[in-house]
């Protein structure tokens, strides 16, 4: 039996995960022009919020718990923007200052999660076996199918939102020229608030699905963040299509890259891809 179908499936699953992080990361970058490293912690927070609900309210509907986890991550991202980034913007902080602040926020959120939930490995599925489907010669779990479907649906939905709604136009206006957006009467702070809510909620969903797929750990945010950042840069920072394309490419390169070698090389392969792009095509696949 060929290993190829499984490799393709694994690539798509990985791409789905990365896309769920990269989409929000890129959206936030488009509006604010800084690398929000705390974005990884939104995934962790979403995962643990769902975990908390499933633990505290035995018998709670799983979908409801996941939805509330997503909402929590979105609100956390929004509040973070309000409390930290917005204040820094008011003080005309540079993007480097915002980046460093976001790293600080990331560390704090990760530490708080570890304090509340311990550093122990947890799973959202509570040990219940996931249904496994055989699709074209590859074994894929229900969670993984949801992961891929969610990534595709959200990428398409985000594209539509940006293209068709007023909020989308306002986001693109802020992304193009924030000062002119203000002058023509766009409430740029409100727009950025929405962007943080939406982007963080998507990351929260990513964290929850990872929690069902492989499990939760307070430190999980960093590796998700790195994959999201690499996918964003490779795809083209600040664009929806870029995030999706970058995630897809990264997923395939990683999984096909370890075909003949040990899986421990995954990180090295991911960063090699990043370096290749930074050197030869720094604007990414889709140039803004």
């Amino acid at each position: 039996m060929s290993i190829l179908p499984q490799l393709i499936a694994n690539s798509l699953i990985a791409a789905g995960t990365y896309a769920l992080i990269a989409l929000g990361f890129n959206l936030i970058y488009a509006a604010t022009k800084f690398f929000n490293l705390a974005h990884g912690a939104m995934a962790t927070a979403g995962g643990y919020a769902a975990f908390f609900l499933l633990q505290s309210f035995v018998g709670i509907n799983v979908v409801l718990a996941a939805a509330l986890g997503v909402l929590f991550a979105g609100l956390l991202g929004w509040a973070l923007d309000r409390a930290v980034y917005r204040e820094l913007r008011k003080r005309k902080a540079s993007n480097t200052v915002l980046l460093v602040a976001s790293l600080g926020v990331f560390t704090v959120i990760q530490a708080v999660i570890a304090m509340i939930f311990t550093s122990q490995f947890q799973t959202l599925s509570g040990g219940a076996a996931d249904s496994v489907y055989q699709i074209g010669g590859a074994a894929v779990t229900e969670t993984q199918v949801i992961m891929i479907a969610a990534a595709v649906a959200i990428a398409a939905g985000l594209g539509l939102l940006l293209k068709k709604t007023l909020l989308g136009k306002e986001v693109r206006a802020v992304s193009d020229d924030e000062e002119v957006a203000k002058i023509v009467g766009i409430n740029t702070e409100r727009v950025i608030g929405w962007v943080f809510f939406i982007g963080s909620a998507i990351a929260g969903l990513g964290g929850i699905l990872v929690g069902f797929d492989t499990g939760l750990q307070p430190t999980m945010g960093m590796s998700l963040l790195l994959r999201g950042v690499i996918a964003s840069i490779v795809g083209g920072v600040g664009t929806v299509y870029g995030a999706a394309a970058g995630a897809l490419l990264l997923g395939f390169v990683e999984n096909f890259g370890i075909w003949k070698i040990s899986g421990e090389w995954k990180d090295a392969i991911a960063f090699s891809l990043l370096i290749v792009f930074l050197v030869f095509r720094p604007q990414g696949i889709f140039k803004r």
């Binding site: 068709k164 693109r172 193009d176 020229d177 002119v180 203000k182 009467g185």
Partner: protein, 243 residues
Amino acid sequence: MLILETKDLSKRYDGVAALDGLSLGIEAGAVTAVIGPNGSGKSTLVNVLSGVAPKTGGRIAVSGVALGRITASDVAAYGITRTFQEVRLFNQMNVMENLLVVLTEKNVFGAILERHAEKHARRAEELLRKVNLWEKRSELAGGLSYGQRKLLEIARALASGADIYLFDEPFAGLFPEMVKIVEGVLVELRREGKTVVLIEHNMDLIRALADRVVVLDGGKLLAEGATAATLGRREVLEAYLGE
């Protein structure tokens, strides 16, 4: 009535006094031309009045209300809009969207579902036809020609429905037929009772369009008054000849 007033207004860029104790008044419902040699502070005046550059001293009043400071976020609420000497559009958006993003109501629910879409689309069409860009409505603003970009920026200013229009050299670099369009826009604004501040170098256009003239030199007020009389004053002629 003075709709815009500055008192001892100053703006320093480290070392350079771009505006230097400038006190002037802009009449409501009139077209006021701001003239002066290159580097005399005309653009800086518009930048300060539109919150793009924070003033470093002095006072500004809009409709008689003194403002502590004026930021880019408040100018729309004060009924002020502007264009830039170096055109600034939303380049990733198409021509139509550049207007729709300004026209559509800015409330929370309207943000999700674009309400009154038809009304806004009609207004956008009207404005684009006025500046002869209707055929280009689906093209990216970033891909337009220089003159078309200037016209779109003017249409976007009109879309704001402001009372006060600050135009920074709207005619510069335009073909004659485009100049005609912009002239038409200014005449119409004046007829509607709007206030226009027009930075312009071409004296024929100023004589044809402006009710009043403000002359700047070195960030200071050199002269101010009705167009014909002010343009005829000796110090004004000298400032231009000495350029």
